[in-house]
Symmetry: D2
Subunit: 454 residues, 4 copies
């Protein structure tokens, strides 16, 4: 082999290449010769892998991860500049005003009433309606804003959906001009809060044709009797729209019931594990008297009620998208920070696999609801279009929030990491405004021609 | 066609067959002729279907559903009569003492301390240990009892697992005879409560080889410094086993720290969305002094700690089985009571499909953990055996609780229906004592021969 | 009770309502009184259900199911009228020329060469290229046409993708002007067929940077040695683009090898269970001499090859969409025809659930690839955009074809029902041009900043 | 910094540690100083990781992977030594006689008739029956042997199941003593091959109560008319058991039809994509005359037929287990051999995840069917027990074979790698002897008390 002089000469050459101090420190820790021997046996591909790894590992500490953004296919580009600006304004509000307090309120199952005037100041309530102070935006923006709210908190999105969509929407679509003038401007300003009383203890929202709450015409107006369950905002709403069956003609009609009506009582539902900020009420109507002028003028049968539901149903799909997006973005950020085995967990294959499954579903969901709102803006939205999106988006959201929690390990069950709440809330979104089963059967009927409900 | 007399004659014949009053009432509601026409067009199979349906529908009200039992393959049969009796005794305790109060405690995130003496009275603590007052049962019974507890409440099962398994187990396996005499009898009686401090804020349970909490030998004994996170029972335990790295020899050692040690502080972790009854603590050790006699005598390296974990890991799989079983049984009972569209939802194909998916997984899980405990009782249990069961059972449990909630619709998010809590708790079980990823890599290494942790 | 005269009077009234003959026939088959008794016990909702069922059952025979169309959100509306017309023209070609013969060729693993001139006559080859006889369409149309082909047969879509995309694309993007003039017009007319030789026995398409086939510069040109596997069209192509590593500078370069080159041999791969119509070849290059003029002029490193792959990758996602759409449409049509228990299986909840799961995924896939092609037409397509769509669409396609087969029961494994072939072919699409794992890691690197390939 | 002499001295010290030649060669390939700098920045954990990786990478070539065995929980231990020996004998037969030829036969859709005498020589036919030359083994062994056959080829397992289970079983359970003596000994020796004709073109096996094939009593015996589809072995069987409805009493009866009966015709079903070795026939019976002595003496209604089906149904679950096990074992072996990026793919997290998902399901399936056969041996097997196992095992098998194919990338679609065939065959097993839907509804009825078939 090489003699000593050659060795020295080569040693000197290597000195010019290598930081000798670093090498010495290394030699104290590892068997340098074993390293050299092992490395020598690698083929070029393996060698490249190791070199990449080394430069990678060494660099982990300083590496700035790419910005976290759940809009991977840049759908925001499809908005007008004004729409995009509004989206970002609402996002900023959510991030600065809602995010810091939301976990605490959720844990206590209380509603942050102080947010209402701030939310009103965004001037987005009654998103798509014309007149009465409403912004008159296209349906796509109703979706985008629902997504932005749910991205931070699904309860706030639900509160807004009840106020702006279900309650105001019922009056906007089915009220007389006098009723609209009376209620909509104040509701748009959120100085008057509304609720929507349809679901009953034994009648789920998907089976709402079979309502048992009754309305009886009297000389003085109407008398309502029955119970409503799950009614969002019911414990503090100023006006609650109650849907009841007219015992005389058997048709479902709508009534504007004011909070101080002595025949009206709402009890907060206490033991929810999801959407805990939403104040769901169990309403009991006991000979509740309502004037004929407080009957929704154009609500003559359940078909009219269904009209309102169709209008708002697309919003639930968007809400699911927001919930999924929030969970994904928080999970991604976490994985680039959290380290195990000496490197960020985002660098592990198993974690990347979760992240990519999440993102692929999230991206598909976003392209789907964009098209859904396009159809709505073209006036072509059908029940089955909306039901399909609701089924797909809420199903995929469940998967996304579940993976988001999983990549966080145990920390995923702590509210402070901003994923646990989404895991719980996704369950409520999955089942409200028609379960997966009911919505699937709506689509199934449309594509097969056969009704399979019973 | 037939003339009038023939008609009358036939009419009279029909009178002998038909309850005319009932028919008349029916005629007031439906177009009888349309019915007859439609029914006439049916072929025999269809006709049979309709008849079955009619007798079925009419009978729904009286029908007594089969008894709800998640042990579909009757594995209880494999126990001895004494073991079976113990199982049923523990079940009765859970159903009468725990079930009625558990949702309320879970909601408030508090521990039902009043249960401890009653639990102690069952005399099952320290299930498999010999001596010190322990019952000395086979491992299969440790599993069966964990299942029974988690079937009603996973938090109570976890509390028991920490006390009986991790805390007592550490002392039983790694303590000196003096230490055993000092602690085990009182712990078996639950007059002394234990905790097990391994996990750290930056070191998950799966990566516990890299502990950062330090132990330094001093003339007076030892000084501990560092933090522990997620430590169950830590806020009220009398003795906490702290695992720390000896700065002198770099080995992990175990210390018995008493609750009133001034260097010990435990703060309750408040914002959990799962296992809310379990009192997890964030422990801070600040120059915490411990006597040499309170060092676990036979815990000389992390290998010894791992010994304890292996012993208890099978129990987590059983706990998942219990959690899944509780959710399934509650969901099944609900679906036979809850009606929509005029019949129990259990009679719908989509609901039965969920129930059968649940039951098939649940049955597979049960047969799997029975075999696992058999291997354990034969002394052949390996880490990879336990990890595989943990992965499978916790993954399937997630699916089962999710379907259980789904069949309940919105009611599934209310604690009172006894599924929502399991949905949340399953997330904790899924990730504790090694995430799915870590456990998968343990099995992966065993079957491929390659370690893929980093 | 009522006396006889009353009975007779009522009987006569009922005669005016009921078709007595039909009733008599019915009475011969069922216990009429039991029916009346049972029906009387029903509440109104139940009664409505039964009536609906009866009118439904009776009507099954005549019912015309809604038209089968997998474009549930009408994305075709987004095309121009000319584009839409071309889509329908290509669809008609596939349905009339390909569909009738495709199962037979698939079964025999042979290629229907007679289709080539007919396919050429559609004048769509080289979809997006400018000049050389190519149609110069936007990328969205490349996607739409790939979907239309795969909707009937994924093998034909693959054949076309190799010819129009990979082979012509390599020349179009990396050839000299002389090379383009020499090859592209004939290839556009399909009088010259091309192939694309990249993958090797030990080097999957995702790891193609590590090619082992060598190219050595000689005074006369180049000498190629090595093997290529899985090369579509290779057994009958006129020109095969071979990618090889230049032993002198270690860079990957591309070569146009003609079929009659004595150093070139292609053996058909015989035992495939998927895409059996595609003629994949195992190519052996033995001192294969190629002129310098047949070296792709602008292919100087693997980066250039990757350029071609990026261009075509979106097409694979579209192909998966087509495959899924074909399976869904065939399955839906089948379920409205096939009867069990006396009614079309499309009327069962469990079948509708499968159909809706398929449709929801299919619709999401379609909206996703539309956006993908929009990005491509805007010149903003990245590798990770395409990889995400490939992962999502091929994964969902697997699920869709699997359900399509399931609703067909045993018939689903018979080729004649036009789903079995899709089930097999989906497996090939899932893994080619980068497995799910490789594509996931490409996206994972983009979103986390960490490479996790090794 | 250190002066030159120090450098030289240290250099000389390092010479004693390092193989200088190897280092020099390495220096030619990589920037040694960058390596040292990067490595120096690693913390100890990272450094250990790199060292492990290096020694790992270098060592991959020599590493002997652990033995491949799908029985992870060693259930074979539960067999008696004689049973275990028989299991291994049958396994050896399959591995040496069947494995080498099976792909070729499958591809050609032909049956390897030459195997029949060899299979007969194992003397296992009529596994559980007493007398007539049958081995009289417990049911657990019927399961174990079905698993062993399907582990190599599901078609052979199906052929055996038809012969030993359905055909011989019908005679054994429902034949007269004369019929048993006439047929069983020869069938046990496989010199006489049987088939079982139940399913019809429009009547799936799950709905077999509604058979349309007719039997009419005549002075000379019986006349059969109708069609049977999917009948395994029908094209070459010596005797075919035909189930037909007696037009006089409407009950289903069984008939032994000999292959040369002029009223019997069987046409091979040609275009199957699964179980291609099984020769399924479409049988047409045209005034097929059968003697009264060839009517199964004890088959008086469909209830008797169902008895046979119950007996064999557990076997299908075991067959699914075998199919899954074969796929898993082949996939695992492949991943330890196949390299990408310079190491066996079994060393990647994403691949290990697939393997562990497979193994966890496979292990659960095995423990489940063991318990199922225990119940059977105790005489406690119900339809719903068997249906549950069929649903679970065939569903999980689908997942396992799908992952097995996935880890093989493109090679997974080549028959030679011994997974593609299982992928296809799993589809047939999934749907035969009752689809997942039918079996789920059988279990659903048992647990809820409600029939949801129609």
């Amino acid at each position: 082999m090489a003699n000593l002089f050659q060795k020295i000469r080569k040693g000197l050459q290597l000195y010019q290449q290598i930081d000798m101090e670093a090498l010495e420190k290394l030699a104290a820790k590892v068997d340098l010769n074993a390293v050299v021997q092992n490395v020598s046996k690698l083929d070029d591909t393996q060698l490249q892998g190791v070199m990449k790894l080394l430069s990678g590992s060494g660099g982990h500490k300083k590496k700035v991860p790419p910005p976290v953004d759940g809009d991977f296919y840049d759908l925001a580009e499809l908005l007008t500049p004004e729409q995009r600006a509004l989206q970002l304004k609402v996002r900023a509000f959510l991030e600065t005003e809602v995010q810091p307090i939301v976990n605490e309120y959720w844990l206590r199952a209380e509603f942050p009433y102080e947010l209402i005037p701030k939310l009103a100041a965004l001037n987005i309530c009654g998103v798509t309606y014309q007149g009465y102070g409403c912004p008159g935006l296209p349906n796509i923006m109703e979706g985008v804003l629902a997504m932005e709210m749910a991205r931070i908190d699904a309860s706030i999105a639900t509160f807004f959906g009840v106020q702006s969509g279900l309650a105001m929407g019922s009056i906007y679509m089915l009220g007389s001009e006098e009723q609209k003038q009376q209620w909509l401007p104040a509701m748009q300003q959120m100085t008057c809060i509304g609720a929507f009383g349809l679901t009953e203890p034994e009648v789920g929202s998907g089976a709402a044709g079979g309502l048992t709450t009754t309305a009886k015409r009297t000389p003085e107006g109407w008398v309502l009797n029955g119970q409503k369950k799950w009614i969002g905002n019911a414990t503090f709403a100023d006006v609650i729209i109650i849907w009841a069956r007219d015992v005389d003609d058997n048709n479902v009609k709508g009534f504007l019931v004011k909070k101080d009506n002595p025949g009206f009582q709402a009890i907060k539902m206490e033991d929810k594990m999801a959407l805990r900020i939403v104040q769901n009420g169990l309403i009991t109507l006991t000979n509740c008297q309502v004037a004929e002028t407080d009957r929704l003028a154009k609500a003559n049968s359940f078909k009219d009620t269904a009209e309102v539901l169709r209008m708002t149903r697309a919003g639930v799909a968007w809400e699911a998208v927001g919930c999924a997006r929030g969970a994904y973005e928080n999970a991604l950020a976490y994985t680039t920070q959290r380290k195990q085995f000496g490197k960020p967990i985002a660098a592990f294959q198993l974690i990347q696999n979760h992240l990519v499954e999440m993102l692929s579903n999230l991206t598909a969901m976003q392209t789907m609801v964009f098209r859904l709102s396009q159809l709505q803006d073209e006036g072509r939205l059908t029940d089955e279009h909306a039901s399909l999106a609701k089924v797909f988006c809420t199903l995929r959201t469940r998967d996304i929030v579940s993976r988001a929690r999983e990549v966080m390990g145990g920390n995923g069950i702590l509210l402070q990491y901003n994923v646990a709440r989404f895991v719980a809330d996704a369950e409520a979104i999955y089942s409200y405004e028609g379960t997966k089963e009911i919505n699937s059967l709506i689509v199934g009927r449309a594509i097969t021609g056969f009704s399979a409900f019973v």
